[in-house]
Structure formats: structure tokens, C-alpha cells
Symmetry: C2
Subunit: 139 residues, 2 copies
DNA sequence: GGTGCCATTGATAATCAATATCATTAAGAT
DNA sequence: ATCTTAATGATATTGATTATCAATGGCACC
């Protein structure tokens, strides 16, 4: 069982105003947001920046395992700051509210299934989309 | 428990040479292929066509639940003709060879997990990527 | 504080998959 | 054969993301 990857800051990377602004925006948000969303959030917080800068920050954070990326079947990628470790998401299809799901039994199932078919080094993606209680009430 | 969607041909759609060529290409392939791949496969089989036509055929087939679509984190969407019913995939990250996975226990787990968090109408996506035996041998 | 190196930034252009437009072609019913 | 209308292909367009590159600014060292 390989330990989770360390989350050291990338070698040679610098702490800048823009990057902290993006991290702040992500930290304050409980839902997934697009790069454009984050640009606006940062701007509203007094830190306007170019969209390319947002993308670059997200790229770095993603490489450092500081954010989770969701690739919906259509549209922009969505980003969220998550807790450490492997997990999946339960996402409200209306409001975007996301709950982290970590389940040992599921992980075992994945590994067992892959091995049964002779596949090694199984990686996987799993996302559950539903309607949350709030949105079911007022949706 | 809603029954699986019917797979009637779309109302007003016509059977054409190009569409059968795409269906043939998909049927002969055991792996996922991009729209460009399928254009080439159809062309090699003597049925050249514009890429837009390929996309339109795939759109129709996808809407009719005749093909499964994979959206890798980067790059083009991948298409594959699948058997009827809800299932997931075990995909070789090298050769693209895909195995269908249908597991009642997993489906139950998804529904239970969603319900536990107050989410209704849970949809989900799950793909497992690994290295198949053949590719593990020859790298 | 000042200096220098080099990562970062922003403006802009480029990519690339996928879709829209629209005149032309052809399926298939009568 | 004729007619209605879906399908097609050439082309332009969209939209997200990445590349380019000159100018800026962290920050390590003096
Ligand atoms: Zn909601
Ligand atoms: Zn997992
Ligand atoms: Zn393989
Ligand atoms: Zn399933």
C-alpha cells in the first residue's frame, strides 16, 4: 500500500498575491467552481487577475494535489479544495454542494474487480450526482 | 426502479450509408475510439465522410443509448458500442481494451451512499483504468 | 537598502474538440 | 416519378484551455 503523495510546495515555486487569492477563494468555497468563477471570486475579494493566471494557479495546485478537479461531460472543469487523501464526491446537480466520500469497501471492490480481470495498477474515477435536500425542497 | 430506457430509433431519423458505416466500425471494434478514429475506420472500410457527419451519428447513437461515451480528463471523447443496460468499464490505459462491468452490489452501494446523505435521484460515473495482461507483458 | 536571477504575470495569439450554418443531396413515403 | 424533409459536407464559429513573450516582481544574497 503506497502512502499518499507528499504535499510539498513545488520546487522553485514562489508565494504570490494571486496564488494566495485563488487558494483563499477555494478555501472559502464549499462547492466546486470553474476557473472563471474563481477569477470573479478573487476579483470580488480585491485581487483581480488574468484568466491565464487562474489556470496556471489551478494547474500548480492540482499537480500538488491541493485541489480536486471534476471534468463534467460538457463544459468547464470544476475545482475544489479538498481534504488530504483519496476520496470521491457526492455532488448536487443543482447547487454544486459537494460531500466527500471515502469508503474502504468501495476501494477494495475496485481493486478486486480489476485484479479479477488481470488488470494491474488500477486507478479509478467515481462521482455521484444527485439532488440535495435543500434543492429537492425548493428546486 | 425505473426500467432501462427503450432503444427505439429516434423518430424521423433515416437509415443512411454513413450511419451504418459508423455503427459497423463501432461494432467491429472492441475498444473505445475517438470520432477521428471512427472517421478513419469508416474511410478504410470504403465509406469516407465528413467529420461533422461522424459527430452527428455519434450524437444520435448516444442519445439512443446505442453507444457509451467516455470523457477522459484530457483529449477527445471516446465511443464504444456496448451491450444493453447500465454498466461501467475497465479500460486498459495502454491499448484501450475495455471490459464491461455490471455489479449489483456496487449499484446498491451508490444508492445507499446517496440516500445516507439526503441526495435523491443519484446518477453516477465510474471508470477503472489499469494495465491489461497483454500490455503488462510487452510494456 | 540595493542587485540579480528567474519565476510569475498579463495581453495576445494559438489549439483543439465540438457545434452551428446553410446550400445541396438523397431517403423514403405517396 | 414526385415531394417532403432529414442528412450531408464545406465552412465558419464557439468555447475552454494552453502557448508565447515582453515586462514585472519574489526572494536569496550581499
Ligand atoms: Zn443542492
Ligand atoms: Zn476511490
Ligand atoms: Zn492493454
Ligand atoms: Zn453503475
Amino acid at each position: 500500500m503506497a502512502p499518499e503523495a507528499e504535499r510539498l510546495p513545488l520546487a522553485g515555486s514562489r508565494a504570490t498575491r494571486r496564488r494566495s487569492a485563488i487558494i483563499d477563494a477555494l478555501t472559502n468555497a464549499s462547492t466546486f467552481h470553474s476557473a472563471r468563477d474563481l477569477q470573479k471570486l478573487a476579483s470580488d475579494a480585491g485581487h483581480p487577475m488574468a484568466l491565464s493566471t487562474v489556470y496556471r494557479a489551478l494547474q500548480a495546485l492540482s499537480a500538488a494535489n491541493e485541489v480536486d478537479v471534476l471534468h463534467p461531460s460538457c463544459g468547464e472543469a470544476l475545482y475544489r479544495r479538498c481534504t488530504l487523501g483519496h476520496h470521491h464526491h457526492l455532488v448536487c446537480r443543482q447547487c454544486g454542494q459537494a460531500t466527500e466520500i471515502a469508503d474502504e469497501a468501495l476501494e477494495k471492490w475496485v481493486e478486486r474487480t480489476a485484479n479479477q480481470h488481470g488488470f494491474t495498477e488500477p486507478h479509478h474515477t467515481l462521482e455521484i450526482f444527485g439532488t440535495c435536500q435543500e434543492c429537492a425542497k425548493f428546486g
